[in-house]
Amino acid sequence: MGGLQKKKYERGSATNYITRNKARKKLQLSLADFRRLCILKGIYPHEPKHKKKVNKGSTAPRTFYLLKDIRFLLHEPIVRKFREYKVFVRKLRKAYGKAEWTGVERLRDNKPGYKLDHIIKERYPTFIDALRDIDDALSMCFLFSTFARTGKCHVQTITLCRRLTVEWMNYVVASRSLQKVFISIKGIYYQADVLGQLITWLVPYQFAHDHPTDVDYRVMATFTEMYTTLFGFINFRLYQTLNLVYPPKLDSKAESELKAEHEEDYAMDSESYLEKLSALSASLARVVATAEEEENQLDQFPADGNMEAREKEQKEQEDQNRLFEGLKFFLNREVPRESLAFILRCFGAEVSWDKSLCIGGTYDVTDETITHQIVDRPDIDKQYINRYYIQPQWVFDSVNAKMCLPVEDYFLGVTLPPHLSPFVEEKDGDYVPPEKLKLMALQRGEKHGKIQEEEEEEDEDEDDDDDEEEDNDEEDEDLTEEKNLKKMEDQRSQGKVRLEQEEKAEEKRLAIMMMKKKEKYLYDKIMFGKKRTTREGRTAHNNSWNGVNGMVSNVVSMWLMPFH
């Protein structure tokens, strides 16, 4: 019996973790400060695999942090600032208590503060890393900018958030990177493609709502503090890539246009610039003024098979970006101005609104060259002949469909088609709402061959009838596995491509015939399942068209399976 005896909980996972209170004592900070520090530095608690071991035998629920993370925190210079702040508060309170007002002033002048720049640089060493994390920052900043300016959270934070969000929107407008919009009951979801990254963010509605009481405001404020810093730096860099001046300035021509007579009615001088920017109705000034926009010339690479496809894609993209180019819109008073102005400007349209609504309206309702007026009322008194009066959903649906939809469905007083979510990717065999099918048909019809256009139009017309089940069946057959084949056959009138496809189909049939019995058995099973779903989807279609509510639960329960 030589050797040292090993004691329990002295090595291994028990020593790698540390509880929250112990960590706090090690750093000599209060709990609020410790939490703030962890949020700022991006240090999160961990759940160990074997709680009993780490907790030294007990199963009490505790928060654990990795010991190495806490040791890393010890080197942080902000920790010193927190302690200084604590001392400052104590001195201030004493001075107040003794009614030494000069002392109070002096202390206030020397209030300790800290900067987060080095933390941002440490957490996101490259610009692309930061861009990946911007979703969260965007949503938080948009959320905070909608808060009311009571004293509950610092008014400065709210103003800063507002400024940053306005800058971001101006950038998206200038770079034309908006891809998708979705109006939900929670808020408005946007998706933009910035420097190759798909960024999704949520903007709450402007009208006031109650603030829930069970949300920790201090935690949210700390997150916002970090995110505003990050966001500002990202904005700066993005403006640099577009060759725009940062902090953003309105283009000098545009600014002179915007000069209204009664500017003082809208905002104070200090805030009027921000308000003008937020109006999003004018373009931004560039660092190096260019007389004309230079077109980006693609480098000529040696002949590549995918070149054509890529070029085609680019052209499509550019076409999409110019969706509303040349159109002039006027927003009526009851529509959400900021959201619509943002979307319309992103795709190249000219927007204006009533002068009494907000600063920045360039033309009035009486302007004759207006092509579309966006109204949300059941009817409107005075109607001009050469413009369309449409409901705001037309804009959103057009953006999602990447083309200008027919205006007739969105006239005043017409029941709108449902607003579909662009964030849903339907797989083969899943239920596709009939509206989406119509949309796809529209898209196909406008893009390819004239011969097929008539057929497609006929299909559309027949869709409007409630009782045409056969056409529904035709469209539903497209959804089966042979959908691609038929699609190809229908669309391409060119013989070469059709021949290719026919060859492929032949090969496929041969392969199916040559399969072994077992494999064929499996294959049959899969096909059976798919066919069942499409059949159910078809019956669902029928029910939706016939409006039979009683069948809903049956049908839904039947095809809930593929959702799980």
Binding site: P61, D117, L160, F233
Partner: protein, 455 residues
């Protein structure tokens, strides 16, 4: 003798005391007893001469000189007395009044000044110290030299140093050290590459170089995306089926909750038969009060159980031998059976294979299941802390709440709460609830005296 004299003197001094001798004589006796002093010596002039009356007179004179400015006897009559004629009728002279006023202010001095005038004959003493200056000559000489130099333009050394000193630049303190003011400037954070200013070892040792961030901290705590888009049924104008799907999900959540409530109620349920009726209540109350015959049958049953274990104590030789033989036989039997089993296993190969395959399949299934569980766990929120994660309610609007247009839309749910819960779901913060207000001591209610009288 002295004591007797004293007594007599004291007695004589009492009022109403009639002595034998007359009072005059008693005085003479006393005065006769006085000691004789030699007034011819200068020493005794001061001690024993009485100049009180002269002193009084001189004091009086000095007082008069000090207070009233000279002897009163030498003052003229007008300054001391005035003739009281009576009230004089005031003559109205309007045009002269203004001039009178002016005259009053200029010519005639104020009465207060007159009262406070310095009117004693005794002049104030001269302050000798004011004229005394140490080294007056030297100081005068220095001042004259300094004047001459200043006239020539040469500054004394002190002034030269003051002028040479650098002006104190009032550094505006870094008030902008704060982080969040609205016009905060930003710069290119990722642009300029920091150069090494000095030897890296030196920087490390002196604590000037920042510690590198460990790689593990860059990993995201959860694979869920930051912003999760709501299901298509949550659109403000949803299409029928997606909305139904969302309603079904919410419905299932509600059903689960109801089931949980029902379960609790079921556990607490009591059978109707067990409820107390009047008879059972009466029975309970009466128990033990009424005496009954106790059974004596219980005692007999105890004896039987003790006897059973005591019979077999010793094993005989025979028994032991038999046991050994039995053991050997059973072992042999087992060995033989094992041998035949092994031989027969050859023919059982197929079924053995079948069982093996089944077992393998089971393990494979279990492995797959475990992996699927682990993957699912990655997207679930982890348990960090005392409270469990409570998912928020689905944001959903019922069929009759769906608005027809954007104008009539009422937003559902709070984005703030959604963001908070999303952060908890992604393991960035631990779930927290609002701190309850706990009282240290119980609240006591005391009636005021006035109320006590009423009630």
């Amino acid at each position: 003798m002295a004591a007797v004299k004293r007594l007599k003197r004291v007695a004589a001094l009492q009022p109403g005391f009639i002595s034998f001798k007359s009072s005059a004589e008693s005085d003479d006796l006393n005065s006769g007893r006085r000691k004789r002093v030699n007034k011819n010596k200068k020493k005794n002039w001061n001690k024993h001469s009485d100049i009180q009356d002269v002193e009084e007179f001189l004091d009086d004179v000095r007082l008069q000189e000090r207070a009233t400015g000279g002897l009163i006897s030498e003052k003229p009559d007008d300054s001391l007395f005035f003739v009281d004629i009576g009230e004089q009728k005031k003559r109205v002279q309007p045009e002269v009044q203004e001039r009178k006023k002016g005259k009053k202010s200029k010519s005639r001095p104020l009465r207060i000044d007159l009262i406070l005038q310095h009117d004693s004959l005794v002049p104030p003493p001269k302050d000798v110290l004011a004229h005394q200056q140490p080294n007056a000559k030297k100081l005068r000489r220095i001042a004259e030299n300094a004047e001459k130099l200043a006239a020539m333009g040469v500054l004394p050394r002190r002034q030269k140093r003051l002028l040479n000193r650098r002006p104190a630049t009032k550094t505006s303190k870094a008030k902008t050290a704060a982080n969040n003011f609205p016009d905060r400037p930003y710069y290119d954070l990722w642009g300029a590459e920091a150069r090494e200013t000095a030897d890296p070892y030196y920087l490390e040792q002196t604590g000037k170089r920042r510690v590198k961030r460990p790689e593990k901290l860059n990993a995201k705590p959860s694979i869920l995306p930051a912003v999760e888009v709501i299901a298509p049924g949550g659109s403000y104008n949803p299409d029928f089926f997606s909305h139904q799907v969302l309603l079904l999900e919410a419905h299932e959540v509600e059903v689960k909750r109801e089931k949980a409530e029902l379960r609790i109620e079921r556990q607490l349920a009591v059978k109707r038969e067990d409820t107390a009726t009047e008879e059972t209540v009466f029975q309970e109350q009466v128990e033990g009060l009424v005496e009954e015959e106790e059974d004596e049958d219980e005692e007999e049953e105890e004896d039987v159980s003790i006897r059973g274990g005591l019979q077999q104590e010793k094993k005989t030789e025979k028994e032991r031998k038999r046991e050994r033989a039995d053991k050997i036989k059973s072992q042999q039997k087992q060995a033989a059976r094992a041998f035949t089993d092994k031989k027969q296993q050859l023919f059982q190969l197929r079924s053995i294979q079948a069982t093996l395959k089944r077992r393998e399949q089971r393990t494979r299934e279990r492995v797959a299941q475990r992996k699927a569980n682990q993957e699912a766990e990655k997207s679930m929120p982890r348990r960090l802390g005392r409270l469990k994660f409570q998912a928020q309610d689905l944001e959903i609007q019922l069929s009759d709440e769906i608005p027809g247009s954007l104008r009539t839309l009422k937003p559902e749910g709070s984005v703030l709460k959604d963001r908070f819960k999303s952060m908890q779901k992604r393991n960035m913060i631990e779930p927290r609830e609002r701190a309850k207000f706990k009282r240290r001591h119980k609240v006591k209610y005391v009636e005021k005296r006035a109320f006590k009288e009423i009630t």
